[in-house]
Symmetry: C2
Subunit: 356 residues, 2 copies
Amino acid sequence: MDPDDGVERPTLASVAALAQVSKQTVSNVLNAPHLVSGATLDRVRAVIDEVGYRPLRAAQQMRSHRSQLIGIRIDPVREGLGGIVLDQFLHALTRSAEESGHRMVLFTADGAEGEVAAYDELVAGFAVDAFVLTGTSHGDPRTAWLRRRRLPVASFGRPWDDPTGRSWVDTDGAAGTRAATEHLVAQGHTRIAFLGWPVGSGTGDDRRSGWLGAMASAGLPVAGLDAGLPDDPAVAQAAALGLLAARGVTALVCASDSLALGALGAVQELGRRPGADVGVVGFDDSPVAAAIGLSSVAQPVAAAAAACIDLLRAQLDPGPGDDVDEPVLLAPRLVVRASSERGGPQAVVPPVLPAP
Amino acid sequence: MDPDDGVERPTLASVAALAQVSKQTVSNVLNAPHLVSGATLDRVRAVIDEVGYRPLRAAQQMRSHRSQLIGIRIDPVREGLGGIVLDQFLHALTRSAEESGHRMVLFTADGAEGEVAAYDELVAGFAVDAFVLTGTSHGDPRTAWLRRRRLPVASFGRPWDDPTGRSWVDTDGAAGTRAATEHLVAQGHTRIAFLGWPVGSGTGDDRRSGWLGAMASAGLPVAGLDAGLPDDPAVAQAAALGLLAARGVTALVCASDSLALGALGAVQELGRRPGADVGVVGFDDSPVAAAIGLSSVAQPVAAAAAACIDLLRAQLDPGPGDDVDEPVLLAPRLVVRASSERGGPQAVVPPVLPAP
């Protein structure tokens, strides 16, 4: 390739000249091929292919005021387990967007204010039609800005500060930890602890509530069995060690696979067998869970992506029966592996986290 | 939000009318704010913000024939460990693209032919300026198509069928497995096996060659120590079991973390200690490796992304000193953890892969 060769980009007119047809015929080949005879169609298409003519969408954009682009923020780097669900979501979203004729365009931003500035630039510079939001939290300034601009928006994750909020899709985290707890109760455990995040995060409190509800339904005590921790395996290992050694705990429901990794480390540190002696269940079903035999709660990522695109599509082109902003709460799925099965074919052996 | 309220999208003219200025002044506020007085600037910007005016890039696009969009394919779903490096690359690419004023736009496609069809549609429908390719393989039809269309392209991964190919960025896989092998030799191992993929994949053969070279340099034998396998932990576990039990192997260099997981399973199955008794090194430094204490070769993902964007930028706007398509081969980094250190602070304990 020599981009410096000074050749002009081909135009509709140059294609028409080379194919010896009118510009209208070239336009018909592109936009209404049924109006063009087979031989002409072949000839014009051959020229278009030969010269690499790009029939710029720009003119169409100016008429429709639609770019067919949907924006979504991603982190500038991806490390650890935390972002795996969002990466899976992005893959599914790309497919779902395509099925409705849209493409996902990516951007990075620091914080919610930076994200709003990025929206502004994407709308001004790229005419982005709509946005998918992730990582919603208490007091989120993003949706207000988008609504003021009348931009279609769908959130993966609830607006925790606004119970009347609309146009979101989320996983029913409480249902996931409830299923995990009920599974451990069915395995004969009665001292079941919860390794979660500190109280105050919407997602974390949701996951805690499912454990609390299932324990109450089973008539089991929870006092002293609830740990609020940073999402760090080493911290979780120390906390789990205390719960297992001093509080008679035999099973742990965890708000993430990172916390569950720490729990497995503590089980091993005490010389107990995961699965057979101590049940451990994580959350998000990361590739790590599948690799080491850790039971985990899987989010319905593909369904969430399809639901987000459906919300945007309804807002962009509302039909008679469309709920343009009806929230969607999806059920997760408990994936049982060796780490929580007492009679399983083979016990999982946990990783040891080397001393930092 | 009520998208059905029939309000027309604001135009340059309606902003001008509301701000009581000329259309040229609005244009100046957007494109040449230094020409506009402070009070007018504030008033026009307030109206733009209030009504949500989008100064469509379309008109600029038609003049420049540039969309500032760069296309990249992603898989419609993401499972297991295989795609983690590409996801990390995508995050870094988004950041590098932004630094040059571009945005990444995503698409999915089935196979190389499907990818070419997607290029066609992205160029015609979205005026995408350039593409980043991944997953290059022998006999790739994609670069030929893109070159014929004079579209700037950069590949993450070498065009293995064409040693004279240009405009690619890749990790020096051989250097990675060479470093892993030398590290194991330094730990006192002499029977070091290679768990790789079947001969014929460019990336796999590259990684194999680094092990072969380091073994030759150390004067160590390789006969019977080279396994070509599918990228599946269970298959790798069976192969590693044979190498450890019957061939006196005490260390394994693996072409992926998936294969290394299988190797760790075999070490445990034989009651040996990873690190202390048997050294294991994976490739790609996935989050699984960090989580379970597996040594692994890390690809320089951020540098690769920056190099790809730099190649595209040079092709789009070649400057006097630009190498528009000079290949870039980047050195990986060996991350040593407990799985390959005989005297480490704590030995890794591998996962057991439950029977399928």
